[in-house]
Symmetry: C4
Subunit: 275 residues, 4 copies
Amino acid sequence: MSEVKSKYEIFKQKAHIVIYGTNTVAGRLFDLILLGLILLSVVLVMLETVKEFDGKYHTFILISEWVITIFFTIEYLLRIITIKKPINYILSFYGIIDLVAILPMYLSFFFVGTSVFTVIRALRLLRLFKILNHPQFSSQSVHLRESIIASRGRILVFMYFILISCIIVGSVMYVVEGPEAGFTSIPVSIYWCIVTLTTVGFGDITPITPLGQFIASFVMIMGYGIIAVPTGIITAEIAKNMPKTKESDKKVCQNCGNSEHLLHAKYCQDCGSEL
Amino acid sequence: MSEVKSKYEIFKQKAHIVIYGTNTVAGRLFDLILLGLILLSVVLVMLETVKEFDGKYHTFILISEWVITIFFTIEYLLRIITIKKPINYILSFYGIIDLVAILPMYLSFFFVGTSVFTVIRALRLLRLFKILNHPQFSSQSVHLRESIIASRGRILVFMYFILISCIIVGSVMYVVEGPEAGFTSIPVSIYWCIVTLTTVGFGDITPITPLGQFIASFVMIMGYGIIAVPTGIITAEIAKNMPKTKESDKKVCQNCGNSEHLLHAKYCQDCGSEL
Amino acid sequence: MSEVKSKYEIFKQKAHIVIYGTNTVAGRLFDLILLGLILLSVVLVMLETVKEFDGKYHTFILISEWVITIFFTIEYLLRIITIKKPINYILSFYGIIDLVAILPMYLSFFFVGTSVFTVIRALRLLRLFKILNHPQFSSQSVHLRESIIASRGRILVFMYFILISCIIVGSVMYVVEGPEAGFTSIPVSIYWCIVTLTTVGFGDITPITPLGQFIASFVMIMGYGIIAVPTGIITAEIAKNMPKTKESDKKVCQNCGNSEHLLHAKYCQDCGSEL
Amino acid sequence: MSEVKSKYEIFKQKAHIVIYGTNTVAGRLFDLILLGLILLSVVLVMLETVKEFDGKYHTFILISEWVITIFFTIEYLLRIITIKKPINYILSFYGIIDLVAILPMYLSFFFVGTSVFTVIRALRLLRLFKILNHPQFSSQSVHLRESIIASRGRILVFMYFILISCIIVGSVMYVVEGPEAGFTSIPVSIYWCIVTLTTVGFGDITPITPLGQFIASFVMIMGYGIIAVPTGIITAEIAKNMPKTKESDKKVCQNCGNSEHLLHAKYCQDCGSEL
């Protein structure tokens, strides 16, 4: 009996290394298979909504979906079993994503044909963000994340300003243009203003009166100038956080301790002693 | 009698603290309620213009509007009464906004159904800019404002250049394309040119002749390159004004407490004592 | 006789000061009147093309045009007479613009109703670029012009790359989408590619096949990333050319000659002596 | 016999200099003619697809195409003959392009009327990228290429993030809007999301429900803020790689002639002699 238990313990340990680890061959292979299945399942969700494709391959898609869902279910249960504190995993961001990714298929037994379920499965994609924690990318993404976090305050102040401006301009355009030009209500006018200010310009709603076109021109030129502000904020932040020369490349003078040298310098610029 | 007056004086003092101050609990609560009411009133103005919503809840909207207007009226009168120099407040930017925000409802007694009044109430939103003066945001918004003000001259020169270019290109396109393609007059052609150069591209007016499309391509590529200029101006300004040293690197003078020093400074710039 | 000639000489001198100078009251007034007339004439050219306006005020516009043209003619003749080397002025950029600005009205005697002439008059606007040479703006525009000139090489290489990419993508889209989707010929497809890559997106031509939409998505994301390049080039150039502190604000230590100080520094950061 | 061979050898040498070299007059002329023929042939490919033009000048285009193709064929053979290791050239990027550029015309004997062949000839344009290796441009393009390569990691992480976001938002919009608004399948919704996020905004598919418009507004404002990130990355990189000192400020070592020194350097970094 205890042997059985100890075998189960050994299995748990091995499974833990395969599922959570990335240092062993088996662990890496597991990660790759998982990555492939996530991508495959998302592609299936997408193709299922394309009528011509769904018509031909409906059964194939359905079977594949079930195979993938069962695999994900086993993986989810293994993750819970093989970890020391399962509750931490279950309540973590990726734990909830993992659960949300498998539930819809089971729920589709009871609630037939709701397309919402189809799409919730696309949330499996969120699991792909895990890749950004991979050592190869993490230094890059950490740098970007830090720059964006540092700019957060300024960006928010800017967004606040933009939003209030859009509401005011939207209200004015509603009065100037009116329902004939498609500005059927203030919320729709605000939507138009956001579409215009961000230079997207769908063209589903466009001003037709001279005054409306004049205000629109003004909004566009402002938006053109204003696009510079968030760019400026983030650029300045990224440039500031950027490693000027890598730490390992810095040459420090043994004589005077000066560490400010060009990359290929052979002699200290301050005291002339060899580096 | 004097007791009554002194009681009134005490009320005025207390009201002043609540309305103008932000340091007491009551003052902060008052600010929050005001903020909530402004947002609510703006949402109501917006929803009033949505036909389906207005049809169902017309009476509810009307009553809410009046309650909010009466609250804003009392607040406006209290602001005048409790301040030492009322005329300064009345003629200030926010004083005028506060008045403009309550007038339309009263005027709607006499002039029925003018949608202009509906929208003027949306100007209450301008009061929300006050939040940017809040200590939490002010340092951020001051930095942005300074960068934009410092770039003002260059941005204006640039805008001047863009505007003249748009008028010239607009005139040329009017001749090339003509009314059949929607270029019905030079002002409309200029409007099209602004829409194109700012990369908004509504698509309500588009060139149809090969020559027109060639000129449009040229304008777009120029606009694409030109978008770089205001971005460059503001980015350079923001990067310049940005505090360069991290908090931990800042040298603080032991003598006078000044923490603004260059990285390699050996003596305090304010009192001359060694760092 | 010689007195008459000398009177004429004096008139020429005075006229020269008024027309070319900007230091006397009369010279400045002349510049302002000229500026006003240019703007007025351009507005007239624009309004002439608006049917409703032209219908009502045709005679008024015509008379105004003639008055302005005669004024510009006199100004042009005076500029030639009062300058020492008239040929230099006549062949200069602004000299040609001045001539082009008055010719169309006279030519309209012989060639009736050609809208091209109407629009050539809009070229008078080019005279407004002269304002950028005004001392108040010149420092700003010089800085911008220098940054753009310095980036010229890189921008051209970039534009060359973009153009070739557009021709190749345009050719591919012509094969993929074909005439049914509006891609009627390769030049039109290239036009579409430029519209898309510059993020203008008119929507007059849009891909309808899945493959076409996939390629379009790729082009858009590339364009989105690529927009960064000219911005980066110009921003880096502007930031580099930007005066870090104005020359006049630089504090130089009398003791050790160090000129690197913060704006409000009172003591030298290197030797501690008072600035 | 050996004389003939030696004559052939001399011809090979001379041809090599003309075809591969750019230092002799003949070499430069050859390059210019080649450049002109490439441009001409691409223009012909383009005009061939314009119906009005092809109708009139079909024979002219056909003959020109054959003349150019024969010239390119001779050039291709000469390049193979005159180089020491022909296999290196044949398998190089430009070698394959050169072959691809001439094959379609010959293949058009056997497979008549396939427009794909017409367009493959447009790939001749890729040969124009060779110009970027020209000394005049290479320093500029090297700087750009290095900056883009250095930003590669960050840009890829960013693109990955954008793409996953687009798939998720696209799936949500498919559920919210549905086929009536043009969101006929998830792939189409993702296409719409990319069109919107990159601020292209064709307008062929636009949200019509209030919730859809709200989500679209959110996506657009995000896209507006997000456009800053790649710009920031590349700008910071370009600014970092940019030569910081003006020519006149450069300190040149009297001993070894090295001109790469920091601004305040007192000793040459290469040979250690005093500057």
